[in-house]
Symmetry: C2
DNA sequence: GTCTATATACAGATAGAC
DNA sequence: GTCTATCTGTATATAGAC
């Protein structure tokens, strides 16, 4: 398991991508197989069921969030600023996993809801020492949730109202002022 | 259209409820018909297709948001405080419509994404005169988005980390201090 | 206006060839 | 390890009786 087959990883990538830009409805086994360049039978060799595919995605997300938190804690910009900033970088592997998991959660997948809640708890624990009090902590988390919500709702064409560049810097400064 | 048939409204209510507590996957025509106490044929008399049912839900949401904004502007607590507070009252008709629409949006329904974006634009315009600058405006909107995100992810059993009572009051106070 | 019965399509999953 | 072919269940939608 230390180095999974390339094909298996690319199937998971295709599933994630299908969720992100087509929603749970479009992430069918057929679509995933086609995007990954394998047949439906080939896909089912690597992942015996759709549930197995979903579990693999959630496990990937859990693994990535630990790395993310380590990076966050070492950021020269400060933990809160790094946290808000990464909440808007929707291109990272973690962000993609989170958005895909959100799609599953809202399609009714309770395991995805629970996994997302766990991710939030990990962040909450990491941020707590760097915020003034619980209210400030919740403010920071909610801003991040809001950024993810807008990323999650932006299906394909529609660009969400997500701040960038100077706007993002101003937002981070405001959140930091309020939170510590 | 000024007073739609009771059965038609209850079908729409059932669809909304099915989306909220089962996700888009569980909101099938069969499930909605059963919950509304009509047969599938009866449902299809009122709404000729699933798409018609979805459109009706989005139209209901658009209608309710206008009423919500009027109430918000008249609130003695202040517009910002009223806005954040109503973002957490997930029992209201508007909140239920928004959460149901979020489920559709993340299932891949682009019309729902667009409608939710419109709702956010309406709020943004209403709040702009009551915030210090654009950054503060975005902060308020993102906190609200975050609250909705957590409500939207809380499927059935799992209670989301949504502040209540004194916690909510403290959060509102903090947001107001930061925003104006 | 509401029902039953049915048509059509497609999802997830299995079997077995190569 | 990957393919084709096929089975089974279920979702949307239609037809037509009452």
């Amino acid at each position: 398991m230390s180095r999974p087959p390339r094909a298996k990883e690319s199937v998971l990538d295709a599933f994630e991508a299908a969720l992100i830009d087509g929603g749970a409805r479009g992430a069918t086994m057929d679509a995933v197989a086609a995007a990954a360049g394998v047949s439906k039978g080939g896909l089912l060799y690597h992942y015996a069921s759709k549930d197995a595919l979903e579990s693999a995605l959630l496990e990937r997300m859990r693994r990535l969030v630990d790395i993310d938190v380590e990076d966050m804690l070492r950021s020269p910009e400060g933990v809160v600023a790094a946290f808000v900033r990464t909440s808007v970088q929707t291109g990272s592997a973690l962000d993609r996993a989170i958005i895909a998991a959100s799609r599953l959660a809202q399609a009714g997948h309770t395991g995805a809801s629970a996994a997302l809640r766990e991710v939030r708890d990990v962040w909450e624990a990491a941020l707590r020492p760097h915020t003034r009090d619980e209210t400030a902590l919740q403010l920071v988390l909610l801003v991040s949730d809001g950024l993810y919500f807008n990323s999650a709702l932006a299906t394909g064409a529609l660009p969400g109202p997500i701040p960038h560049g100077a706007e993002l810097d101003a937002l981070i400064a405001l959140v930091e002022r309020a939170a510590r």
